[in-house]
């Protein structure tokens, strides 16, 4: 159902000019004018807006969250291009949470899965093209000339013969009364004015001068600050706390028990935090006092012997392995990881008897609104979600746990509340990238061809909590992504999924299953290449004869990196590729290893990416660069420490992120095999860990099968190797 809110906003906007909404229908996507929208009644769900104002401003409403990936620029570029707008007149506005703005593919308003361009490209192009055709028709009628004598030119319609011109702003009112073409003619690629160009980001100035508003920058008159004391271990009850001491802190208004702990609400942030300190809570040990990295490692290892569910079964891997002469096996282990967005979780909410305003750095507007409806009892159109800039998302901000807390506290206090987590809360109450173990067996024949691959992964399920309907016969498709669709042409492949449930909650972490499975697949394929005594690149190419896109990124990255050419003494190269979110990325890492300390230095990474049509190449390169840097941070440094039933890692002192002196030079090459769009926010992450591990093997002969590749891990592997 379309809500009254969006209708009001829509109709209000149409008074000033031409506005176009796009609606999803059961048969696809269609465009609606305001008049039609009113006629169509409640059965359509407009999801995209553009507005042409009489002053020539073009306003594009963006229904995706900006968390660094550039959608506040790339989505308006798509509309502006088809509209043939003058870019300097284009502005963007952030969509409210409303059914009108739901992602047409997902049916929910959220940002993730590297899908923003993929899902919005066609509807936004159609919206822009329809508006262009209407503006042209309005001009033709005004001049009483045939439509075919008119052309558009950067925000103006021109009558070619007489060289008369009218700006879009001048034509907006006339165009608004026209019928909207349902199948506007889209531009040819050669006609693109903005798509494919390095258009500077629209959010750049605000992010450089400090005026960009993130969730943490929200203020509401009369708001209280909230701080929550949380248990240090999972499912631990509060034994005692000093309510009087907290209440005695000047400015503290109330101590509020909440499902996640004990909240202190106060007039200022410092009072709320001091009040929390004064609580001096004592917690019981929790339900899992023996939970630790060691206990988890033991449990996961034991699960390697549990029979799992077959996610893929080509040929007969078991028999092929039994009869193989040259076979190897290995166990890989990856830890739980925190998202560690630079902006800690926070939310500011004002719940009133008849409405609710939520300022949230969220990837999940639909989730936020549904939650608010559920908790407040208000109607969806009484809930106003204001999406701020996100200080990093990476999947963490798809969750709504911090919104729930702020809602409860605002309702309980009858006042607006700003909830801000400390870094320690953010680190210890995350929903982590799942720990996982893989046991892989593989075989090569006398000619050095891979003949069998048997892969068993023990991994907690994200979908079991977030989208249970996405489980396929009990198999978490995220846990086996990159395995069930592994492209290597091996006749016998078995992929087995063993789900393990632990008290540690898991969530989407940039590139999700691919972020761990690329490491195991691309490391083990290197192990097979070694067993076959073949060059790692040649070995891969030999197994990808029918996968031209994979071959092309591998060959491009290898060529640009100078694969096979000599390096400085002590340096070596490793290669890896991965297909995720519709995009192919290959990365070649050049590393050296300090043989005394075991420290890895990554000097340079050369990347080739094939994501199909590119809207903004500079943003694509930045995302690949950023993705591999985050992936390298995880590969070299990150591991959540668990002990005594809870998370022990606290802050950037004991959960270290990659710093500038550890960031390699990066060279990104974009190749395009087809127009088919691929995602770009995540695919840069997966190949870096195996590329580095494979380079370390070349440099030292030590095979690293555990992340992170900390110096002591490397030293231990070098001793073994």
């Amino acid at each position: 159902m379309k809500s009254d809110l969006s209708r009001r906003q829509f109709l209000k906007m149409t008074g000033t000019g031409l506005a176009i909404a796009a609606a999803t229908t059961s048969t696809g996507f269609r465009l609606l004018s305001a008049a039609e929208l009113a006629k169509e009644g409640q059965s359509f769900h407009p999801s995209v807006w553009l507005e042409v104002r009489p002053n020539n401003s073009i306003i594009v409403t963006v229904n995706k969250s900006e968390m660094g990936q550039g959608v506040y620029t790339s989505l308006p570029m798509i509309v502006a291009d088809e509209l043939d707008a003058d870019w300097k007149n284009v502005r963007m506005e952030v969509a409210p949470a409303d059914d009108a703005y739901k992602d047409p593919v997902w049916g929910m308003q959220s940002t993730g899965g590297s899908s923003s361009i993929r899902h919005m490209y066609e509807p936004l192009r159609k919206a822009g093209a329809a508006a262009r055709e209407m503006l042209m028709l309005a001009a033709a009628r005004k001049w009483t000339v045939p439509l075919k004598e008119c052309a558009v030119d950067k925000g103006r319609v021109r009558h070619i013969a007489s060289n008369r011109m009218l700006t879009y702003g001048k034509l907006a009112a006339d165009a608004a009364s026209l019928e909207i073409p349902q199948n506007p003619v889209l531009k040819k690629e050669s006609q693109f004015r903005y798509i494919g160009k390095n258009i500077p980001r629209l959010d750049m100035h605000d992010k450089v001068n400090g005026t960009a508003l993130f969730g943490i920058d929200s203020f509401v008159p009369g708001m209280l600050y909230a701080a929550i004391a949380r248990p240090p271990s999972y499912e631990a009850d509060l034994l005692s706390y000093d309510r009087d001491a907290a209440q005695a802190v000047p400015g503290v208004q109330a101590i509020v028990p909440i499902h996640s702990g004990m909240a202190v609400c106060a007039d200022s942030l410092d009072a709320a935090w001091q009040g929390r300190d004064a609580l001096k809570p004592r917690w019981e040990n929790g339900r899992y006092p023996n939970l630790s990295n060691e206990s988890l490692e033991k449990d996961f290892t034991a699960y390697l012997d549990v029979k799992g569910l077959m996610a893929r079964n080509d040929g007969d891997a078991g028999r092929a392995l039994d009869s193989a002469a040259n076979k190897i096996d290995a166990v890989y282990q990856l830890p739980y990881l925190s998202h560690a967005t630079m902006e800690p979780m926070n939310c500011t909410i004002s719940v009133r008897p008849d409405s609710c305003d939520i300022w949230a750095p969220t990837q999940n507007q639909t989730g936020v609104r549904n939650l608010a409806v559920k908790l407040t009892g208000l109607k969806p159109d009484q809930i106003h979600v204001h999406t701020t800039f996100l200080g990093g998302g990476f999947g963490r901000r798809f969750e709504t746990d911090y919104v729930e807390e702020a809602l409860i506290l605002s309702m309980s206090m009858g006042k607006p509340v700003k909830l801000l987590w400390k870094r320690e809360e953010d680190m210890q109450h995350d929903l982590y990238r799942p720990m996982n173990l893989s046991k892989i067996q593989g075989a090569v024949d006398e000619q050095g061809r891979a003949t069998a691959w048997s892969h068993k992964i023990v991994c907690p399920s994200i979908f079991a909590r977030v989208f249970p309907s996405m489980l396929k016969n009990g198999i978490d498709t995220a846990a086996v992504e990159g395995l069930e669709n592994m492209e290597y042409e091996i006749p016998n492949i078995a992929v087995e999924y063993v789900r393990i449930d632990t008290p540690v909650p898991v969530g989407f972490w940039r590139s999700v299953g691919s972020s761990h499975n690329a490491f195991t697949v691309e490391s083990f394929i290197d192990e097979l290449a070694h067993a076959a005594a073949k060059d790692p690149l040649e070995f891969r190419l030999g197994l990808l004869k029918n996968h031209p896109q994979a071959k092309r990124v591998l060959e491009t990255a290898a060529e640009k990196a100078g694969w096979g050419k000599p390096l400085a003494k002590g340096e070596a190269r490793g290669i890896a590729y991965h297909l995720s979110f519709g995009s192919y990325v290959a990365e070649v890492a050049e590393v050296s290893v300090d043989r005394g300390s075991g420290a890895i230095k990554v000097h340079k990474v050369t990347c080739a990416v094939d994501c199909g049509s590119v809207v903004n190449p500079a943003i694509v390169s930045a995302q690949i660069m950023g993705g591999l840097t985050m992936g390298l941070s995880a590969a070299l440094k990150e591991k959540i420490e668990i002990a005594n039933g809870g998370i022990k890692s606290q802050n950037f002192g004991d959960y270290e992120l990659l710093r500038m002196n550890e960031a390699p030079d990066v060279d990104v090459h974009i190749v395009k095999s087809s127009d088919k769009l691929g995602g770009i926010g995540e695919p840069g992450v997966p190949p870096i860990a195996p590329a580095v591990a494979n380079a370390v093997f070349q440099a030292t002969g030590a095979r690293l099968r555990q992340l992170p590749m900390k110096p002591d891990t490397v030293l231990a592997a070098m001793k073994q190797g």
Binding site: F214, S268, E343
Partner: protein
């Protein structure tokens, strides 16, 4: 009551002197360009200039900043070469750490208009960026340096 001079303006703030400066700047005075990241001085998001030096405002008490000249990202001139360079190089992604990065870089160039690669790394290493913009930050610093340092 704490008396502060921020971006050339005098402020009297009713706050205990031991409250970290970052909370006064952000939550009392609503100069929100300065960000909170870790609270332990390990990320650099809260970097401001105190008497021209880059300092972590989460590790500086409001009281200790009295009588000193505090500059936040809002007080760095719009035409500052570092801001220009950041835009030219299109550095930010999510943008959250960037005010801290910019303040850290501006202090470096004020002290050494032509820093070496090692000096840049040494000076900037305390500022984390989760989006991975480090290479662009380095290029922007080199660009600002070649365009005349701090002035």
């Amino acid at each position: 009551m704490v008396h502060l001079e921020i971006n050339g303006k005098a402020y009297d703030v009713d706050v205990a002197p031991d409250v970290p400066l970052v909370w006064v700047i952000r939550e009392r005075l609503e100069l929100t360009g300065t960000k909170f990241g870790c609270g332990i001085g390990a990320c650099g998001s809260c970097t401001v200039h105190i008497d021209g030096k880059a300092e972590r405002s989460c590790q500086t008490s409001a009281g200790s900043a009295e009588g000193k000249k505090i500059t936040t990202i809002e007080g760095l001139p719009e035409n500052h070469p570092v801001k220009h360079a950041w835009i030219r190089e299109q550095v930010p992604q999510c943008g959250y750490c960037q005010p801290g990065q910019i303040m850290q870089a501006a202090a470096l160039l004020a002290e050494d208009p032509h820093p070496s690669e090692n000096k840049i790394l040494e000076h900037m290493n305390g500022n984390l960026c989760r989006c991975g913009t480090y290479l662009k930050i380095k290029s922007a610093i080199r660009l600002a340096s070649s365009s005349g340092g701090n002035k």
